[in-house]
Amino acid sequence: MATEKGKLAIYWAASCGGCEISLLAINEKILEVDKAFDIVMWPCAADGKVHDIEKMADKSIDVCLFNGGIRTSEQEYMARLLRAKSKVLVAFGSCAGEGCIPGLGNVSNREEMFELNYLKCPGLDNPKGVVPQTETEVPEGKLHLPLFYDTLKTLDQTVEVDYFLPGCPPEADRIWDAIVAILEGKLPPAHSVIGENSTVCDSCKRVRSEKKIKSFKRTWQIIPDPEQCLLEQGLLCCGPATRAGCGALCPEVNSPCIGCYGPTDGVHDFGARLMSAVASVIDSQDPDEIRRIIEEGIPDPIGTFYRFSLAKSLLRRSRQNGHHATPATQEATL
């Protein structure tokens, strides 16, 4: 019996752990997963050691669900290892697919982050100013820590990815759909998203009336009307740019969509797509007024337009003062 079972690996990199929980949210269906697969690795919930994976033949794992972005050399190592050992590699959740919240660190870099976290953060007790190093000498020999990167990369900026499962985290029903698709071999073309290709607006029940707005509102400033489109009430709802799949959960409870399902197929840059949609609701033809509406209403443009997708965006990160010396061409060699 055991010989018929497939092999499944589940791994996490720069992520919050929510994807692991979402996987368990398929509830008793996890038993179906267990019936179909031997779990060879799942650091959060099961055993399975890295050296056991290293010893396996290439492509001997049937499916690997990989959540999290790539922020350190150790995460990159594991991404490469699991890619080599897996037939199907799935970027599971927004972090692996688009960078998500960990990817927002791309407005900064290692030096700034270390300085804040180890030296400047109020409440720190670090009188000697100790900052993590990649190598430390101890009497027993040298100890190593992974290298922390300036820029978080998505999984597909690191290794080839077969499928993407969007969401922060992916909805349990969509996860189950994907597992069934994998089990039945009814998968979409390689490199595509397993999911729907309409927008959150398409699945939102609110009434749209092509109303335009003179100011944006933050969520704490108004109690929105429960029937009317939130964007038309001035709340910056990401529904027009965001892939459906959640059933418009957030607008359903009077909260604007913040874009966690990422863009629809063929979109190169989620933020640009959203900017286009948002530009259409601003009710002004006067550049000064337009500027005022935008500047007053959108105090954090990266957090608004790229909350989940900064690492995957066309620009990927903010500008660094001193460009680093390593030539970009080295990227492709390993």
Binding site: Y149, L315, Q320, H323, L334
Partner: protein, 168 residues
């Protein structure tokens, strides 16, 4: 290379009905202007999606010019107002990325305004020359010895495995 030799690469999205003709006019009237703009003709400034601008900047352009018909004169009625709103949103978003506003410009130029367009281009080229090259993808270079760090992990794991197998 010295700063003097830096020739900015600018991608220009010019509306077919006005600015593209203005550029044409500047050419035929032999109005001299900087040759740094790679012109892409679009049917209307409203066709220019912020994606186009980001794509250009991320792939090596030092600046992007969008040019269309004067407000009120768009051949598709209001599309240049849409361009205006998109532009303002994009500029607001580009600031925290560290991209200077001089690098992305929206100008209005009618088909008769070859001179004005030429001046706007000259000004833009001069501004960007002062700022220097953008070289966006250099931002993606990694700190430290990334490849060494990756190899070190593989080597350590290899050694650990040898220790394990000796134990058995």
């Amino acid at each position: 290379m010295s700063d003097q030799q830096f020739e900015p690469k600018i991608v220009g999205f010019l509306c077919n009905w006005c600015s593209y003709r203005a550029a044409d006019l500047a050419g035929t009237a032999r109005i001299p202007y900087a040759q740094n703009v790679r012109i892409i003709r679009v049917m209307c400034s409203g066709r220019v999606d912020p994606t186009f601008v980001l794509m250009a900047l991320s792939q090596g352009a030092d600046g992007v010019l969008i040019a269309g018909c004067h407000p009120g004169e768009c051949h598709y009625i209001e599309q240049n107002y849409k361009a205006m709103r998109r532009y303002e949103l994009l500029m607001h978003a580009l600031r925290p990325f560290g991209i200077e506003p001089e690098r992305v410009r929206l100008v209005w130029a009618s088909a008769a305004e070859g001179q004005q367009l030429a001046e706007a281009i000259d000004k833009m080229v001069a501004d960007i020359r002062k700022l220097g090259p953008l070289k966006w993808q250099d931002n993606w270079n990694e700190n430290g010895e990334r490849l060494e760090a990756l190899e070190a992990i593989a080597k350590e794991h290899q050694e650990a495995m040898e220790v394990c197998s000796h134990g058995h």
